[in-house]
Assembly symmetry: D4
Homo-oligomer: 251 residues x 8
């Protein structure tokens, strides 16, 4: 039921062209059956997009290149920014064809189309423990930047050489929220959270071998952090961390 | 090395009473050995307390009542607020003896001593799925309130009766950050995160039986949330969620 | 918004006492905010109770005896049947005081208050593999009987003596749905499902030791059943199985 | 021993052509050795096929294309419907050669040969949480349709946008049984079960990454459902769910 | 149907007192419905008892003392030997009252009543790795001895002092089957199996702490044995090992 | 130290050419250092081969075709039978070149060279639950046959159609030991063990999907068997089962 | 065979009283059967005690007080030092009665009797992350001290306040080997190993809750350490770490 | 801040060109912000390299050949030895181009450039259980040799033929530290640790199948070792073991 339809019913009731019982039934149906999305006067789906500047993110995993390209073109058509995560080369080629202004971020495996979005209040600090964690970190960075944030990257600052992260104390303290990406034992978030007073979003990565169990060791390390302020997202979920950090940075 | 000591060395060098080589060695030592805590001019440990209004939290688990009471009395002596989590009745009686102004929150199993702290910007919404999740939720609430936040509690709004949470849309949308506490399948955070545009801190609880595996089912459900904005803390970690929410609410 | 309120608004619009814009806003609010429960003309919560004859089940686990008794008395006051699961002796004594007509089923650890409910179409067959599985089986039986079903119990018919279950072929074939309760290797549901053409609800129990892992071995056995028609509920969830079987039997 | 053979023995005894001891031995052997399948007067194997209209389902996994084709041709030769699950392109080409009337369902990865079977009583509602869950959902749909059921598909109605499933309330309420297919946190079945009064068959899928552990997170979420009426089948077991739903729908 | 009944039917048919159709129906019923146990001429349940000299074993776990005593008295009444495993002191006192000749084996936590049974062919060697594994080993020993076997115990011969087991080479080589009981890393069966040419039954115990996970480490060690001839039973299942070893020793 | 060397030392002592102290030192060294293998008069390694008729088995997994062929040729050169397990086509071609009399068993993925070995006492019954379990079953069969046993194969007798295994009661009862191979829920060994009085060697297979976890469900099912006489080997370890069964059958 | 016996045989051979064949047989037997322990001239069991100054350690877990006391008294009788780990108060009272000079370490739950043992070369540094880890750390300390080592304790230096461990750089660098005890995320060993150039023995503790899984999170964190030089012992195995550190410190 | 910069500040203060307050601020900054690495007068990063003779190890996993070659060339340019682990053929070809003196170790999958480094005190014994464990063992050997150690290899000495390891007693006793590499049940370290009085570094390998779970069975076996002196590294972590053994051997 669109706002126009609702207004029409009310007008018809007022003008006596529809009697009360009939209008009652029509509206009751709308109460019970209508998805909020189709109400017209309140596109619930677009709440988030209005506030954050983009509507939808395409998880590339398990979609064909042409499916991805079609959805991306549709979003661009509505004037919204586009983010495709877990996008490989073929997906990139398919999108580029339909959306020439799209950009590809090969390390992050992400496709983006930038649009003007509300800017975040401060800076998002982004640390990664090792070089192998960079793809996940870059997914977070690309996500956060597309959503209107400034990202301060500090890579390869793992705890085995503790001075590497200590050296960045000032940059960490300058951030409004920190994303920490780490595989193996996943201990960097605890160290970072002990150095700052802002929320730390921890992203375990599947980097490691043997008893790392594809990121489980890092995940458990982060969940059991002895430091205050650490919350955790799924293994390799750089997108999720970037999105949460952006939400916090837009408060 | 205190600021005074550093100043003395510099004065002595300037006045020629200490030669450069000797001063060099003294300072080099300070660079290498001094813990930041003992620098004097920068008590790193207290960074967080200055910003958030409290110094330290006492995890009651595994401490004797008299240990807890002694630490609590010490903190009170420094004029700081006190929070003891996982505190049972004997701990409460021991603390009360040394710190008469302390309060006990039996559902949250927490002891607090309130102090003036900086107030958070907005409201923290706090949802729990079932009645059995309330102790963990209350630990989060007590923590957040002590840290200077207003908490809006919505309990027993689990997804099996989806209208229960839908009814609270306005209160959820009014919050600056949401804590969602749930056991069993742990699905409430996904539903809530789909309704709001602010960060959701998900707390799995050990509530359930059989294949809930002491909260693992809820934890996995939350980590795999299909909704944007959900980050997760350890099972039953109400304190951690309250603390992170407070950090976000103080930004 | 109750039906009466809706009707009033419409009347007022028709009569010109409320103008269209104002009515539009009121109704729009209702669309967005009202929980289905409070709509008045449609108590979603009571759908199920109308069809199945009871409103709510009390999971005794983690509730105090007086909490349980209070809720039970409330339900009885509305004229509905009562089922308390995982109820121990103290809970039973507390309920008996407030609800003298309540019955206790010690093996099933359940408290019931019977009421007239719609009767199921056929019979629910209920098999258990070993004597130790009987408490879980009885929870299913008490649940199903309270919900208006006839239950045909076949206990201690585990597969190590395969003739024991084969002997009951006729009774199994006479059932409209079968519940099979088993611990240890949890293989009985596969055998039963191979003998009948109706749905089999499998309930793993935590009976066993060592590598049974508190029912996980039985759970996995049932999920991997090579027979058609087996679906599974949580470990020790006799109530759940009884409830599903009753739903099927009322179709 | 066929009924004819049994009758012959009895006739011979009556006529004195076989003495009692010899008949006794022959029958005793039959008691001990005969598989029910070969009894003649009771083909246990065919019980199910008589009632449900099809004899056997071919699990394509781990069979060569020619093995699959041979079995399928054999079933068709007996006039029965055919269902091959987990069938890839080569299997399809091999079957098509021997059974020209066969159809291929590429999304469901299933091959079917339709036959007249008894029709189910009502409708089977089929929900999937995300687009990636559709192959498993389609396996369930193809299975149920081949077995004589009408399937009402509702795809991409996951809980992160809760209005999507709420919008389908009427269609859900119209169903006699509901299949819910979901990966990631697997929470959709709980929401659906809270909306309807009929059995819900939950199918976890291996969709997800990281801590989804190939469907374990979804599986645990479903087993721990806080809603009534949810039973669960193995991860990705669309066929199993379709089969159970059909059994229920034929009651 | 007992042999007598079958014979009667045949006689009646021969004598014309029962006509063929009626006899056919009676026998057909017997084919379909009768449990093998009740056939009379073939008590399937007693097959094993005839060969091994005892009918049934009572798993004490989860039974009340009086239940155990009643079953035990019943078995004694049939002249069979009795074995109750996992029997505590109260069970023992209850059994002793009804069956004065019963014996209690406190280390093995077993109650026995000895009877003449067929003797095994050779010796069963029984090794345990540590002193803490002895209760499980003794359960195996008591079981095997009651079933008519000679058991040669070699305790505390774990692999950390490898000479301890090497010293027993002759006794091991003299055995017809070997039971090896071990907790912690569970490596003793591999060493023993490398020294003998007969089957080795490995019993993991729940002895250990930390990453022994209640016997899982030992269980996995035994399942992955690099030596020939090792098969494994459940954690702490001394009874099972004793029973299998007895079966082998009676071949 | 060879027997000749030992004899020489003793002769030299007797003849006074070596004094006692020197001989004492030489022998003491031999006591401490000599591996049993190199003693000459006692080739520990060959104990087993003498009794069972073959020396060594080559696990093909992780070896190159030429490594496999070289080892096989060496064994053949000593006149011993050869068994290569987990051998693929290239391994087979390499072996065939060096050992023309070798045979390949493609289903079992095994290469054999037969030799005269002591024959087992009775028959080994070999059951498999499904067609997909046959490769593992055939590995067991090829192993047992090469070791001098008669194997009675009963394939596709899983418990979902329980009459299939019941029909083979006589063949099962005729066996001296039974191997049961099963994937999915792994319940067949329990049923078989309930039908016979001889040891049952259970082999879980990695057949299945989803919550079968590569054979873990079947493994747990077998370890928790409620029937007497079941012991278990590693997942897919057909060779191990064949070897143990042969040991038992040679007693 | 004792040295005296060996000498006698050689003498008899030399003197012609025993012929070569007979001596050959006697010695051959000794080669095959004698445990190294009983050789007389080489008590393998005592190798370690000779080098490290103590013979045996008593794991208190699962032993009765009187068993512990008896073993301890026996060891004291041989003049050796005593260590009982996991000893509770009753064990301590029982030991004190038989061995008055014994000492009890209540935090470490250890009983010791000191003896002169070889001293280690340098210092063992011992760090613990939190106060709750101290019992495990003290078990390591008591063990190492009894074995002749100087232990430098640094407690409560967890990584959430990284300056705490950094402040101890000099003491860490002065150590010959470092033991690091930590629960929760178990990340301290990585930080320490990055600061020193000597081996780090990491001890996970069962301290934590929820997803710490009784020490598994800490264990995995340590096994996946990104720093060089970290090896790990079992959860809560303070004794093991103390023993290994002592071995290293005695090199 | 380099030593030269520090000296300049002090000189300027002495000469009055910088006043005390300004110098104070400059030095205070250095205290807080400077990473130890950039202090100039104390390159923390090079501590280890100075003592052990090499600076950095390149983990080949997840790096491109050209990345690896560039880093290797950089290290060689500083005159340090190079170790690349997990290096495949393409990596080797890329490195060889830039660093002609590099060597490739195909079994260990390692690239090395040797340099003069301090020699270890004694010998490192290196045992592997099976032939398949050799690649991991060789990674340990190449690492240890490059770091200046003599390695005594004992391969294929698994416990199923216990005499194989017993035969090497003297070589084991001659070592200063022992590395034991084993897959499957991982029991060799316990046997070896029972034979020597020096530290044993245990390396589980992913060799095995079925319930070996990619090395988890071996890992658990080693963590639960009943012998003294065993510490464990990650699955397949030959490099880590070689590195720790070298640290111990250089003490």
């Amino acid at each position: 039921m669109t706002p126009a339809q609702l207004r029409t019913i009310l007008d018809e009731v007022r003008e006596g062209r529809t009697d009360t019982a009939q209008a009652y039934d029509q509206l009751r149906e709308a109460f019970r059956d209508q998805p909020f999305e189709d109400l017209g006067f309140a596109k619930v789906d677009h709440h988030r997009s209005m506030r954050q500047g983009f509507a939808e993110v395409i998880l590339g995993l398990g979609k064909t290149p042409s499916q991805i390209a079609t959805i991306a073109a549709g979003i661009v058509g509505r004037g919204a920014p586009v983010l495709v995560t877990r996008a490989d080369e073929p997906a990139w080629r398919a999108v580029r064809e339909l959306v020439p202004e799209a950009e590809y971020h090969p390390v992050a495996r992400a496709i983006t189309v930038k649009r003007d979005v509300p800017q975040g209040v401060g800076t998002i600090a982004l640390c990664s423990a090792g070089t192998s964690d960079i793809p996940v970190a870059e997914e977070a960075a690309v996500t956060a930047e597309l959503m209107g944030n400034t990202v301060d990257r500090m890579y390869d600052v793992g705890i085995a050489g503790i001075h590497r992260i200590l050296k960045h104390r000032d940059r960490l303290e300058a951030a409004r929220v920190v994303i920490v990406v780490a595989g193996m034992e996943g201990a960097l978030p605890s160290v970072v959270a002990g150095m700052v007073g802002v929320p730390v979003i921890a992203v375990p990565t599947s980097i490691g071998y043997g008893a790392s169990f594809g990121g489980v060791a890092a995940l458990l390390g982060m969940l059991n952090s002895c430091a205050n302020g650490v919350s955790v997202v799924n293994i390799d979920n750089g997108y999720g961390a970037g999105c949460i950090a952006s939400m916090i940075n837009h408060l």
